[in-house]
Every structure is written in structure tokens, then in C-alpha cells.
Symmetry: C3
Subunit: 269 residues, 3 copies
């Protein structure tokens, strides 16, 4: 099954998102709320961003997936995340966690680990140093844009997979998607994507959207990283820097054609 | 009076905003704060976004209109909205309410109805399902981008007009502006506007800006929806998708010419 | 020393930022979090935006400068700002304060003055009316985009310099950078920059980034205002209004060449 990733499989899921327009509930950080909402809309999904504890039951009751992103924490929001995870678990909808900046502060590491234990997510998506920090508090990352040696991050991902029976996406030059059934690699994207805030957060919410469509978290997550990376490559070729890139990225996601996937998809190399 | 809407009347109000540069106080959601502020600046108005209860008296004391947008609620912000409405009522400045996502959660429906009773706004602007949900808690909307059958929404708008002596704007393929003096229809805009977050919120703050200029809420609101829709059509023709659309929209608002209004305005059809 | 400002000195600092990629901790307002993060990334620096009091010690412990921006205050955030300033003082890293909207409410004036007394910043950056309001509560500014007569603002800046031994940047048609060692003037920029929210906030965070590189706050601040203004001029020539300007601005910052500085820099005229 892990080798079924193909142009066809990416394209089919992308079309299914446009048809179904899944509703993705995001408890995310202030920095990327706007860009994340627009990313979901460009993909064909529907965003909700809400954190009020009094309305989580209603909103998650109509949502198809939950995104938890710890980029700008505070005590009320942490409690909202816990409530949301419990509700999503009861409903059985996919939960995707983005441990932004884990390792940069003890609070982030502690909160992320607590949330993992409370209700293991379907997928965890982070960069190498974030994934590493989830399994150890010895690593101090430099903010939210760090990378870590890929082998140690992969080991950490496997530890998380083992412990929480989840899928882990390590974003990087090559994206690794890991779970008990195997490992997939997506070799798309462009370095300019590290010069724009919120691209990782967009990837996380794409993972959530694809997981509402495809029952295999491994495949769904690989598809979302492929779409991210391919749209990123096309956008880079049509933009002049990190300023014009985000608009070009959303346009590319929105206008993505099967031929684009055919031309750009590089996987399992 | 309800038939006085014309290219000239839209243009005159638009020019008056640029001259007067009204200060619009927004208590709005995290997702659209940046895009709303930029929309007001492009229009020629001045934005304030602030929610601290200790400064509302000072800030509303220098503002020309108040926008209340319930997109990302929490208890402190709800209280700030109540204080702001009371202050705006005392000063007699226009209040425009955007009941984002009403019907999607009981909290939103309850808060919106409470705010309406506290101090009826000059104008309520929402999409069909939001307007419908304001008059009934039987409707559950799917997030914030829903539509509802236009006849039932129009009936709901009339009920709100009757009960709160306000003007209601129902955004949609055709925008309906309704109050006791009549009904106006604006048939501008483009579907791409539903693929970008915050276009409805921008419309709401435009309604506020125009209501500082024109004493008729019906005319002012119709003018703002006309400018939104016309700028949206021009922007769509100059952009490649929902990514490049927002910048093109702001440019179009900023550069809007009388000839553009002449060419595009479609009303009361 | 105050006359050493040159194309070379601007360029050298800009290159040093790209090499060192300083980590800038921002406690800033909701409106500009995304645009500020992207501005720092385009410049070559790394942004952190976080306000949770439990993690400030860890995060400021790895940061190279602190930005305090009071654009959207609330009591928790005010306390976070105080904690952050104390931590930054202990570490001896540059602190840059942006007194957004000071003078528009008594809360802002009071909080800004309290923060100044708590731990004088390395640099204060504001527009004329904000700088004026910091020394007097008699001035009521109109929101956040006001200007004030340059002579009275300059007098106010000198008072702040005297009292807090800091550097003051007055943004305006001509930017004035003032401290005990002298005064520098940057005559770059374009009026369109007043039609986009967050340009002042970007300037503030650029000042922070340059102050991690250059030990002279006067020179560092002048360099940052020169880069802001030059990138703004280039961006204006490549954009069609306030909508397309921000992307063009970030692209210009990212792609800025020594020849651009050579061609555009206008100083001390």
C-alpha cells in the first residue's frame, strides 16, 4: 500500500477535496490565521478558526478534521486545545498536530507532549528539530524555522509512531512521511518556502484536509506534501521573491492541473 | 429616495470618504484584522483595531463608526463589544454588525442576538444563512461561507428590520439591502470572492465607512456593496486566482474611477 | 561617527543580517504579526512572535533583540511586555519600542510611559504624533496614522533621548534618527507606505534587527530606515497601489542590491 502513491492518487484526492469541501477546524496561532484560512479555501476546503470553549462542541460537531497548532500559546488556548482534542476523539475525526517551535521553550515541549498523551493525533507534522524535540527536551531549537539532522529526526519520528500509533510528517528539503505501514518521501518544494511565514502551518492544514478524504494517513499526508511542494515550485517560478510568493502559491494550489503533478511529482527517490 | 442610487451617488460618497478619511473602530476577528485594516486604508478611511476595555471610551470618542464582528469570540471580547456598542450609542455614531458564522454555534447565535438587543446596529451585514440564523436557532450553518435560499433570508431580513429598526445587507450573488424605506439590489461581484477569507468582513467595514458619509443607511450600504462588487470584478480580471486576487482587489478599490463604476454598476435588476 | 552613514555602511549591515540571521522576539499587535514575521524573513532575520509569560524566559534567552509594540493591548499582554523587558535588560539585548497609537487613548500613553520607565529601550520608533504624545498627554492623535509638526516632534524626541538615554526614530516624509551623539536624516520612502497597515511596525522590527548587528543605535536605526525607504521606493515603482505594494516591498527587501542603495539613498539633506 505504501507504494501506491502516484500522480493519479494525488489528483484523485485533490479532486475529492474540491467536491466534498471538508470543514477543517483550526485552533492555530495568530500569525497564520489569515494565510491558513486562505490556503484551505484555495485547496477547496472550508476553514473555521475558533477557540472559544463554549462553542467548540458545536463547531467540532460539524467539522471533518481538527488542526492543533501551538504557535502562539496561552493558558486559555491550551485548555481550548485539550477540549477540542477530546471532542474530536469522540467524533472520530482526524486530528493533525503542528508542534510549532517545540524545543524552543519548555512550555511548548511540555504542552505538546501533554496534548500528545491526551489524545494521540492522526498525524504530527513538524520540521526535523520540532519532531526531535517532541521526543527529548535536550534539544533547543532556534525559533520556528530550524532543521535538524535527518537521521535523528527520523529516529524520533519512529519513536513517536511506535508510542502514539500515529503518522509523522517531517518537513524539509525532502519530506518524510512515516508510520507503521512504511515510509514515503516527497522531494518537491523550494527553499523560498522557508522565507515565508506560515508555509509549515499551511502544510499541516493541508494534511488535515487530505485526511478527511483518504483513509490512509500515510497516503493522505504524502498527497498533501506533494501538493504543497508542487504548488511551491510552480509559484517560485512565477514570483520574484518571498513577497510575491504567497499569492503565487495560493494561485498554484487553486489552479493545479493533473499535468502539473505529472510534470513535478518527485517521490521515493 | 430608494431609487436615487446612481453612478453619481456611488462616486460622490467614495470621494467624500477620501476627503474626510473617517476613523472606523473595529472590534473584529483575528483572521481578518490585517486585511480589514488594509481595505479601509485603500478606500481612504482610517482603521483602528482595539479591544482593551480601558481604552474603548477614548478610542470610540474619536471614531466615526463602530464595526462589531464576532468571527473569533471569547468572553473578554464579548464584553468589549458590549461596552463599545453602549459608547457608540451614546455618541450616536453608526454601528455595523457582522454576525460571522451565526448559526454554526449556539454561542454565536446567542451573543449576536444579545448584542442586537443591547443596542440595535445601524446596519447588519451577513450572508443569507447568517441573516437567517439571527432570527432562528433552527438553522445550522456550515461554518462561515454558507448561503441560504434567498427568499427565506429576505424574510428574515425584514423581520430584523421590523424588530430592530435597522438596515440589513444580505451578501450573495446579488446583494440585497433592505430597510423600512425599501430594498436595493446590487448585482456586482464575482464568485472568486468566496474563495478568499475576509471579503465579507471587508464589506462590513466598507458599510461602516460609507455610513459615516451618507445619512441614509440604505444608500450608504448599497454604495459600499457596489464598490466592493465592482472592485471585485475588476480585480478578478487582473488576477490569476484567489492568491493574487486580494492585492488586485485593494488596488482596484484604491484606483477606482468614475468610469469603472459607470461601466460595471448593475443594480435593481 | 554620526557622519559615517554611507552606501557601504548600509550594505555591510544588510549583509551581516543575512549571515547572522538574528532571532528577533516580537510582542506585537494582532494586526501585523504576519506581515512583521514576513518582513523579518525577507530581511534575512528570524522572527519569533510569542506572549505566553511561561515561555518568555526561554525564548528571550535565545533571542538577539526584543520588539515591544503596543498596537493591540490587553492586561495580560501588558504584563508580558513588562516581563520581556526585564528579561531583555538582564541579557543586555537591544529593545525597540513601537508606541503605536500613543496619544489616542490614555491607556496607551500610560502603558507606554510605564514601559519606558521600567526599562528604557535602546530605540523608540514612532511617527511624529506618537513621539510627541510620549512626552505629553495633551496631544490626542487620530488613530495610528497621524503626523505632527516635525519641530515639536523633534523637541519631544530630544526630551526622550535626554531622559531615557535612548535613540529615537521619528518616521515621516523625512525620517529623523536622534540620540545624544547626533542626528541623522533619511529622505527615502514613498507616501503609498502610509496606505498600508504595518509599515511602521515593519520599520520597528527592522530597527531591532539592525541593532543586533551594529553597536551604534544611531547608525543601526538609520540603516534600517534607509532599507525601509529604499525598498519602499523600488516597490512603489513595481506595484499598482496599496494592494500590490506589500508583496513588492518584501521582494525588494529580499532582493536589495548595493546598486539600489547607491541609486536611491538620500540622507542628511
Amino acid at each position: 500500500m505504501t507504494n501506491n502513491l502516484s500522480v493519479e492518487s494525488v489528483w484523485n484526492d485533490l479532486q475529492a477535496i474540491k467536491v466534498k469541501s471538508p470543514l477543517i477546524h483550526n485552533i492555530t496561532n495568530y500569525v497564520v490565521m489569515n494565510s491558513t484560512a486562505n490556503a484551505l479555501l484555495a485547496l477547496g476546503a472550508s476553514p473555521i478558526m475558533a477557540h472559544a470553549q463554549e462553542e467548540l462542541e458545536d463547531l467540532i460537531g460539524i467539522s471533518n478534521a481538527l488542526v492543533i497548532n501551538i504557535g502562539t500559546l496561552s493558558s486559555y488556548w491550551i485548555e481550548s486545545m485539550k477540549i477540542a482534542i477530546r471532542l474530536a476523539k469522540v467524533r472520530g475525526i482526524p486530528i493533525v498536530m503542528d508542534p510549532v517551535g517545540v524545543g524552543a521553550s519548555r512550555l511548548r515541549t511540555q504542552v505538546a507532549q501533554e496534548l500528545l498523551k491526551l489524545g494521540p493525533p492522526t498525524v504530527i507534522r513538524g520540521n526535523g528539530s520540532e519532531i526531535l524535540a517532541l521526543t527529548s527536551d535536550l534539544v533547543r531549537t532556534k525559533g520556528v524555522d530550524s532543521t535538524a539532522a535527518s537521521q535523528s529526526a527520523l529516529d524520533a519520528a519512529r519513536e513517536l509512531v511506535e508510542h502514539f500509533s500515529c503518522t509523522v510528517v517531517i518537513s524539509g528539503e525532502i519530506d518524510l512521511i512515516v508510520n507503521k505501514t512504511g515510509i514515503l518521501k516527497i522531494n518537491n518544494g523550494h527553499p523560498i518556502m522557508t522565507k515565508v511565514t506560515g508555509m509549515g502551518c499551511a502544510a499541516t492544514t493541508f494534511v488535515a484536509a487530505f485526511n478527511t478524504i483518504n483513509p490512509s494517513p500515510l497516503m493522505a499526508s504524502a498527497h498533501s506534501m506533494a501538493v504543497m511542494g508542487i504548488a511551491g515550485e510552480i509559484a517560485e517560478s512565477r514570483s520574484s521573491g518571498p513577497g510575491s510568493f504567497p499569492a503565487a502559491f495560493l494561485d498554484s494550489v487553486y489552479n493545479l492541473k493533473k499535468e502539473d503533478i505529472q510534470k513535478h511529482l518527485r517521490m521515493n527517490l
